[in-house]
């Protein structure tokens, strides 16, 4: 187990290093200086930037200093907003984005699993077709289109929910709905197919023969094994929700990290782009690592195959 964790840890560090290096290389290779874009006549900002990025030093020194500043979580100042550092933006945006992401994950996982179980229990029945119909639609409709439809119908036409911003639980309903539908659909399909597989196994027949109630069979016996694949795709789902939040935050005018990120792309605010990319990637990679570890702990078969393999 320790060896497994160490191996994953090593890969995680390598991946992080590649991303950090890639951002550096891309920044250096931007034609001209990325800090000289039009409209940037502020003398002080210019000096701050040059000092922060050590543009007067040779390139390998720049690289080492950049690595050091990333390691100490100092992403430097923004170009467009003179008195802002990237850290300020992250500090303001991240809690809101994290809240949105967390609620979305919880909603998606719970509703996806319930939908999947219902579909599996009524295999080839009306509920099954209905649930899978919803799931395929959920996968097919891009979240930004769903978001605009929801705003148009539920917020503008019927005025059930506020159109935008992030203030009260009512404000959260539409963005969470738009963001959670895709992951929910994926989880529902996955839960259904593994449930169908698990339900044919002998130990389920055994449980039924013992006279356990269907509810107990599902919760105590079937669900445990059916949820393993859901855990494996959590990392991918997290990545999807995170990138999805870029547009959702933009559409609903939620002042989260995604909104700043998209704004920085539109303004070509390179330090913010680089800082947020590295931060996002690091966050995601650590999450992937945790998912891997959780899977290793939860699935006893991983240890067995490791021993046999050696």
């Amino acid at each position: 187990m320790l060896k497994y964790i160490l191996k994953k840890l090593l890969i995680m560090v390598l991946t992080l290093w590649i991303i950090i290096t890639l951002t550096f290389v891309l920044m250096v290779s931007v034609p001209g200086s990325p800090f000289n874009s039009e409209g940037n006549s502020n003398e002080i900002v210019q000096q701050n930037l040059e000092r922060h990025y050590n543009l007067d030093k040779p390139i390998h020194v720049q690289y080492l200093l950049y690595l050091k500043s990333v390691a100490t979580l100092d992403f430097g100042p923004s170009i467009k907003q003179p008195n802002q550092t990237v850290n300020d933006l992250l500090g303001r945006g991240f809690p809101i984005s994290a809240e949105l992401g967390l609620i979305t994950i919880i909603v998606a996982v719970i509703s996806g699993i319930i939908l999947g179980i219902l579909a599996a229990l009524r295999h080839n029945g009306v509920i099954d077709y209905l649930a899978m119909g919803i799931a395929v639609l959920g996968i097919s409709i891009p979240n930004f289109i769903l978001a605009t439809l929801l705003i148009q119908k539920l917020a503008v036409d019927w005025e059930f929910f506020p159109v935008a911003t992030w203030k009260s639980p009512m404000h959260m309903v539409l963005p969470v709905l738009a963001l959670a539908t895709g992951p929910m659909a994926i989880i529902a399909r996955l839960t259904r197919s593994t449930m169908l597989e698990v339900l044919t196994q002998d130990y389920i027949k055994m449980a039924r023969a013992k006279g356990l109630t269907p509810w107990k069979i599902i919760v105590k016996h079937a669900l445990r094994n059916a949820l393993m694949p859901v855990i494996t795709i959590m990392g991918t789902l997290l990545a999807g929700i995170m990138t999805g939040s870029f547009v959702i935050e933009q559409i609903f005018a939620i002042p989260g990290m995604g909104k700043y990120f998209v704004e920085s792309i539109n303004h070509r605010d390179f330090p913010v782009i680089m800082g947020t990319t590295v931060f996002y990637s690091a966050f995601l990679i650590v999450m992937l690592f945790l998912v891997d570890i959780a899977y290793g702990i939860l699935d006893p078969r991983i240890k067995v195959t490791k021993k046999e393999g050696e």
Binding site: I19, L22, S140, F144, T243, Q250, S281, L284
Partner: protein, 317 residues
Amino acid sequence: MKPNQNPQHYNQENVPDEWFTWRKKDIKEQELVARPSLSYWKDAWRRLRKNFLAMSGLVFLILLVLMAIFGPILSPYDANTQVLSKQYQPPSAEHWFGTDNAGRDVFTRTWYGARISLFVGFMAALIDVTIGIIWGGISGYKGGRTDNVMMRIIEILYGIPYLLVVILLLVVLGPSLSTIIIALTVTGWVGMARIVRGQVMQIKNYEYVLASKSFGTKTPRIIRRGLLPNTMGPIIVQMTLTVPSAIFAEAFLSFIGLGISSPNASWGVMANDSLGAILSGNWWTLFFPAFFISFTMFAFNVLGDGLQDALDPKLRK
């Protein structure tokens, strides 16, 4: 008692000759197969045809490709000509899908958008498949140290968040059709390579591969003729998932301002342009691109599901 006195006990000596008939001429006829033999692909097609949803998806996609090719020719309007006197006309006999904020014909633009979206999707899938087959094929077939190194590289690339790298590349390279395709494929091939490797590793231990090795067949030929045809099923299924995800990525990128630049139509650009318009009631400018993005993804998804069932020999009845 001797066993052959019992009439029910026959052996080689006492079987009466009249039980046998001499069949001289019709040896060829005996070799005939009663039913036409089904190749893997014919069988898969037979089963796919029974799947209504998957076939509807296929028909929709074929129609879409045809319209992407011929649609702009059929329409009397140009996709980029702005007629400012005809802003936001609702769908009518004149403009089937209405006109947009600059008086451009949405019908024409939709099919131009289909061209770009489908081109991005298919090109990305094609490049993914090419790199994936080469990488996964070598990795799976060689095994050992080569496989180990190649898989570690894949594992590292797999951890890199896909869309973030795409965004980063596009910010630096500048958005255009070719840079979008390049950006989408830089880490996109990893999934395909994993699938090909898994398949090749499984198949390379079969006897027929051993047989062709013992005939002295060279490695590239074994991979090309012996292994790849049998990995085609999962590869095709994966492709039907890659195309819509590339189309989605292109729409997503257009949406955050990194897509094809605005006078050119792509579905993502059109949807992004008309976001404000629907709030003032001009629903059609968003509806048509949104409908076609969603329906194309839907069609690919159901076709992929159908193909997965049809191409899996284990489900053969």
